[in-house]
């Protein structure tokens, strides 16, 4: 399993909405250049409701930064990403299945950064399938060995 931000960035690359490492970043860090870029952060996660459902709920924030004076361009980019990401169902990326991705806040205008570049942000909640631990038929030893395999 990879980072949820990286998985969503991969979806955006597949949709030709950016090039990873050039104008699309999923490292949680914001490079100073280029001005017009998109970056993704994992901002939280909720525990699975029940182990049998095998879903985790990672929360990913997508931020678009525009050129100086490029608010409209920034907004259009944010909404094109929003229209694509909000409502994604049953997508498998990097061997991880995303049952559902939906918008929880935004897109909102975060005004300008310190160098007067416009910022827009939106946050998405993901229903992410975690590896199937066979709780129903297995014993506690099976579970611990599975976790051990994943951890090694």
């Amino acid at each position: 399993m990879k980072d949820p931000a990286y998985d969503i960035a991969t979806m955006l690359v597949q949709k030709k909405m950016g090039v990873l490492g050039e104008d699309l970043f999923a490292t949680g860090d914001v490079p100073p250049k280029p001005d017009f870029l998109t970056f993704l952060n994992v901002t939280g996660s909720a525990a699975p409701d029940d182990a049998r459902y095998a879903f985790s709920y990672a929360i990913v924030q997508i931020v678009v930064r525009g050129n100086i004076g490029g608010y409209v361009q920034c907004m259009e980019k944010m909404y094109s990403i929003h229209n694509y990401v909000h409502g994604i169902t049953n997508r498998t990326v990097n061997d991880t299945r995303y049952a559902f991705i939906y918008n929880v806040s935004g897109p909102i205008n975060l005004e300008m950064d310190e160098t007067m570049r416009p910022l827009m942000a939106a946050t998405y909640r993901t229903f992410r399938q975690i590896p199937p631990y066979n709780f129903m038929s297995g014993s506690a030893d099976d579970v611990s060995s599975t976790i051990g395999t994943l951890g090694s």
Partner: protein, 128 residues
């Protein structure tokens, strides 16, 4: 082929009672909403970044009913709250970004439990 018939004794009475107990259910749901809203507010205030304390002190909450819906709201009055909440790439000396959202997610199991308890109490009161 066997023909089976089931009858639940007192089912009609139960339905009549349920229809008449909506005021009791609403009362208990509103109480549960108060508990949940205050819980989310408390958790978010614990995680709010503090410099002068203005942001943390600006947390507000309210509960109201627009029947059949019961609504609760937690918000921050400070006009810069959204920037602190959303600018996850900036550095903070205390607290965390997404303090309100995070509080909502981590209190979800408790929220569910509170509603189950409230409905149990409502049914106990309705059918005592």
């Amino acid at each position: 082929m066997a023909n089976l018939k089931f009858e639940i004794k007192g089912a009609n009475k139960l339905l009549r009672e349920l229809a008449g107990s909506s005021a009791i259910v609403n009362k208990w749901v509103k109480r549960a909403m108060h508990v949940n809203v205050l819980d989310v507010k408390k958790l978010s205030m614990q995680n709010t970044p503090v410099d002068t304390g203005n942001l943390r002190a600006s947390a507000r909450s309210r509960v109201w009913q627009n029947l059949p819906k019961t609504l609760g709201e937690v918000w921050y009055n400070a006009n810069y709250a959204v920037y602190v909440h959303e600018k996850t790439w900036t550095r903070l000396r205390s607290g965390r970004h997404k303090f309100l959202e995070h509080a909502l997610y981590i209190s979800q199991p408790k929220i569910k439990r509170t509603y189950v308890n409230a409905l149990n109490s409502a049914f106990k009161e309705a059918f005592k």
